[in-house]
Amino acid sequence: MPYFAIYETASGNLISIAESRSIDDFDLRPTLSITEYANRIDLSNKMWDESIADFINRPAKVLSDRVDDLLLSSDYTLFQRVYNSLGPLDKQDLLDEIAKLLGGQRYRNTTEGTRL
């Protein structure tokens, strides 16, 4: 089933995504434009780009690893001194234990701080 994106011609601003179009509703409004798509647009992986008045792929989520924070952030210099004093096997074991402890909180948005 075709889908229609209705947007402001001048700005590219998307107004509505519709399953059907009506000549009366749309064509009498000269400030609007319509683009037809063969299938429904899934906004979980597509997003509207006003500059080209079309859908583009939604960028992948970018995350930071809190285990890396411990090794690299200036918030954790004491940890880094202790970590660097360990042998290679102990280093990996320690990081594995920390990852287990963090569980679902291991990853953070890049905009969040390095402290939980």
């Binding site: 107004i15 906004l43 509207w48 992948a60 905009t111």
Partner: protein, 276 residues
């Protein structure tokens, strides 16, 4: 005297409770993801004519989005009365954040009530009980049919709403139904989290509108939704029962605005349930 006392003719009954485990009845999804499992009976025969159904899910075993059907009828002849109730998850732990649904629909005495579920992971388990309320409670009119709009059974979730790339500015409308088949008296809004386990703190305001594309008229404005980076889930998961007056043949669409513009954290899912 309490003002909420039930009338003398009222009754209620909770079905599906498993008192040996302090939870509801286990409803197991199909081993294949996004596929409905088999029905599990909640009650063999309802003892009275019910006028309200309160659906009470508890934590699932895995971090999935789920769509739940409540049905009446004999085994192998079940008829779905509540279709694809969204039970969302933040994708990293087995917690249902208070998703509850209350519908003013009738279920005749003597009915067998059962449930089935699908999950974004196969074999997920939802624990479920329901409360049936008889006639006699101070109530809105009792209705009979619940329509579900925006559910996506291919992913066990809902329809994505994108507030767009400008903060605190309404995004575009997304159509949920082209033409309602009956007058709608109540609406429930369910919010899905898209299994986004690392969310940003932000707030949304959501509009529900009727009318042709580019000519929508808002019938519910600025319904507030929010998310904390600590909880990683968009809340509230379900709305209260919202009185509306939507004629048959109406197109319904939803849009939102958000306090952030992050391309993945500004979006969430919506499913609408219309009672008519």
């Amino acid at each position: 005297m309490p003002t909420f006392a039930a009338y003398s003719t009222s009754r209620n009954e909770t079905d599906g409770s498993d008192t040996s485990a302090s939870r509801g009845t286990a409803i197991t999804a199909n081993a294949s993801s996004d596929t409905k499992g088999t029905y599990t009976q909640l009650i063999a025969s309802t003892p009275f004519d019910a006028a309200w159904v309160w659906v009470l899910p508890q934590d699932s075993d895995d971090s999935t989005d789920m769509l739940l059907d409540i049905s009446v009828g004999a085994a192998a002849s079940e008829q779905v009365v509540l279709s694809n109730l969204l039970i969302t998850s933040h994708g990293q732990a087995s917690i249902v954040h208070g998703a509850q649904y209350m519908f003013p629909i009738e279920i005749a005495a003597g009915s067998r009530v059962s449930a089935r579920v699908q999950g974004s992971l196969g074999s997920d388990v939802l624990y479920l009980s329901v409360v049936l309320f008889g006639r006699g409670y101070a109530s809105a009119e009792t209705l009979s049919i619940v329509d579900t709009w925006g559910d996506d059974t291919t992913n066990s979730d809902g329809t994505s709403i994108d507030p767009g790339g400008t903060a605190n500015t309404k995004g575009s409308y997304v159509q949920f139904v082209a033409s309602t088949t009956r007058p709608i008296r109540f609406l429930i809004i369910a919010i899905g989290n898209q299994l986004n386990s690392v969310r940003s703190s932000c707030n949304w305001l959501l509009d529900v509108a009727v009318g042709a594309a580019a000519s929508e008229q808002i019938i519910l404005s600025n319904y507030p939704v929010n998310c904390s980076a600590s909880d990683d889930i968009v809340l509230p998961q379900t709305s209260q029962l919202i009185p509306v007056d939507i004629p048959a043949g109406s197109r319904i669409a939803v849009r939102s605005q958000c306090s952030i513009t992050n391309a993945t954290d500004r979006i969430f899912d919506v499913v609408l349930y219309g009672v008519g």
